[in-house]
């Protein structure tokens, strides 16, 4: 004899496989969408940190003399939120001009002072005011504006991705509700019988719960595995540096979130099945 009695008969292999693939497909879509959300977020952060977060300050050097770099740096660093100010050295300026001026001797040319300001959370207007105080002719160029559109688009795509993840999880829960209700109807005679034998609602719900848990976990693992294989294929097929994928590399906690999809796909259906069965049983006397 078996150590525990199976309250419900085994499901037919066809029905079981169909459900498994439905849930696996949903987990696959959820994993792809979640990875997309994370990667787009990482690219946006990278843009903001490297391009959008930096302003270029140019201070002309008139004959009467420009302010000392130390004064400009100190004044800019005093602005709340500015995290770093770097004086661009002359050799870097030479290198920047080389494509236009060739290897000509630039000695004597009145090259401006150039600074890279890492804005952090600083208000650009305050940075501008601080610059005007020490160098009224100084100019500041922010790079945030040109990429603002891209950032906005990326954020919109990310929001859509989050919505897709939520919809897929809701669809998975809905599928479980539907299949659990169908299962309740199919096994109504067993439920009525054990209910009259004195089984508690939680005991009756257990096999439905366990079935949903196993199905969700298996489907989640298959789906996430498929999504990872898709990602590996994509990475192998494209030049990651060219398309900026290296900026999208996911962090440890983001991988953990993706790894949490199979348990989530197990727990959500399990809880859904449990609640569905308890609600149905509550109608019995």
């Amino acid at each position: 004899m078996r150590p525990t009695l199976p309250l419900l008969p085994r499901q037919g292999p066809g029905r079981q496989r169909f459900l498994l693939w439905i849930i696996a497909l949903m987990a696959y879509l959820a994993a792809l969408a979640l990875m997309g959300v994370f990667m787009i977020g990482n690219v946006i952060s990278s843009w903001q940190a490297t391009v959008g977060g930096v302003a270029t300050v140019v201070v002309p050097t008139p004959p009467e003399g420009a302010p000392a770099p130390r004064v400009v740096v100190d004044r800019l660093l005093a602005v709340e939120g500015v995290t770093a100010v770097r004086v661009v050295p002359e050799w870097e300026l030479d290198a920047l001009l080389a494509p236009w001026l060739g290897e000509a001797d630039l000695e004597g040319l009145p090259l401006p002072q150039v600074y890279e300001v890492v804005l952090g959370r600083a208000d650009p207007a305050r940075v501008r005011a601080a610059l005007a105080a020490v160098a009224p002719d100084g100019e500041i160029t922010e790079h945030q504006a040109p990429i603002a559109g891209l950032v906005q688009m990326g954020q919109s795509i990310r929001a859509v991705g989050v919505l897709v993840v939520l919809l897929v999880v809701a669809a998975a829960a809905g599928t479980v509700v539907f299949t659990t209700r169908a299962s309740l109807v199919i096994h109504q005679h067993i439920i009525d019988l054990v209910h009259m034998m004195g089984a508690t609602d939680h005991r009756i719900a257990r096999p439905f719960r366990e079935r949903a848990l196993q199905m969700g976990l298996a489907g989640g693992l298959v789906g996430v595995g498929g999504a990872l294989m898709t990602l590996v294929l994509v990475v192998a097929m494209v030049d990651t540096d060219m398309v900026g994928l290296s900026r999208a590399a996911m962090t440890g906690w983001q991988w953990l979130c993706v790894a949490a999809i199979p348990p989530a796909f197990a727990l959500v259906p399990m809880a859904t099945a449990h609640v569905t069965v308890l609600r149905a049983l509550s109608r019995l006397p």
Partner: protein
């Protein structure tokens, strides 16, 4: 034996002015008032459609009355919280008219089912179940599935399942409806043996010959109302 509303409160079953209707239909049971004492054996009789099965369903708590009071094991069923009803149901064994055996379990597993679903399965359960299978003459069919058994064998299996939990109250709905006289007598002797061991038994039947051969008090239903007929002593 059956008694009136003045019977003692600690009785096994007490109905007071109980009525039952399904949905908005007419009352199928009306003004039922009776008491079944602990350790008695009663027949529940009446023509088909008289309400025997409905009355049994009220007794095994598958239905709630639309009016009146039902006391079971000293509990007012209407006032008993739903979450405590399973505990009351465990004291009741039911032999259904259609047996309600689970085809995906073996005969032995079907007998063990009431213990398994109520967390009472232990080391001695298997031995007890095998003894019961022997008692009902199915010792050679322990691992057979119900569809492989005859109607009479399924009937006896249903009885074994109903008594495995040592119920205080055994309710049997037409337990001899589909068996020949010889088997019907054998099943009745099983019920009487259970009754001698202290189980209160109610058997719904319209088998007049069986009632004549094994006389016990009767609860007769007529048109949804109860007419109590005292049984003859054997």
């Amino acid at each position: 034996m059956a008694g009136g509303p003045g019977a003692k409160l600690g009785a096994m079953i007490r109905f007071e002015n109980v009525g039952l209707r399904y949905g908005s239909g007419p009352e199928v049971l009306r003004d039922l008032t009776f008491t079944l004492e602990d350790g008695t054996l009663h027949y529940l009789t009446g023509v088909s459609g008289a309400g025997k099965t409905s009355l049994l369903r009220l007794m095994y708590l598958a239905l709630r009355p639309t009016r009146g009071l039902i006391h079971l094991f000293g509990h007012d069923v209407a006032r008993t919280p739903r979450h405590t009803l399973p505990e009351l149901r465990r004291r009741i064994g039911v032999v259904f008219q259609d047996y309600r055996l689970l085809d995906h379990l073996t005969a032995l597993e079907n007998v063990l089912l009431p213990l398994a679903v109520t967390g009472r399965l232990d080391d001695s359960s298997l031995i007890h179940a095998e003894e019961l299978m022997h008692w009902v003459g199915l010792q050679d069919y322990l691992h057979a599935r119900p569809p492989m058994l005859s109607g009479g064998q399924q009937q006896r299996l249903a009885i074994a399942r109903a008594v495995i939990g040592r119920p205080k109250l055994l309710l049997a709905d037409e337990p001899t409806g589909n068996v020949d006289d010889q088997l019907a007598h054998r099943l009745m002797r099983l019920f009487e043996e259970l009754n001698r061991h202290g189980t209160t038994v109610v058997i719904a039947t319209h088998n007049a010959r069986l009632i004549a051969d094994f006389p016990h008090p009767q609860l007769r239903l007529e048109g949804g109302m109860l007419a109590t007929v005292p049984g003859r002593g054997r």
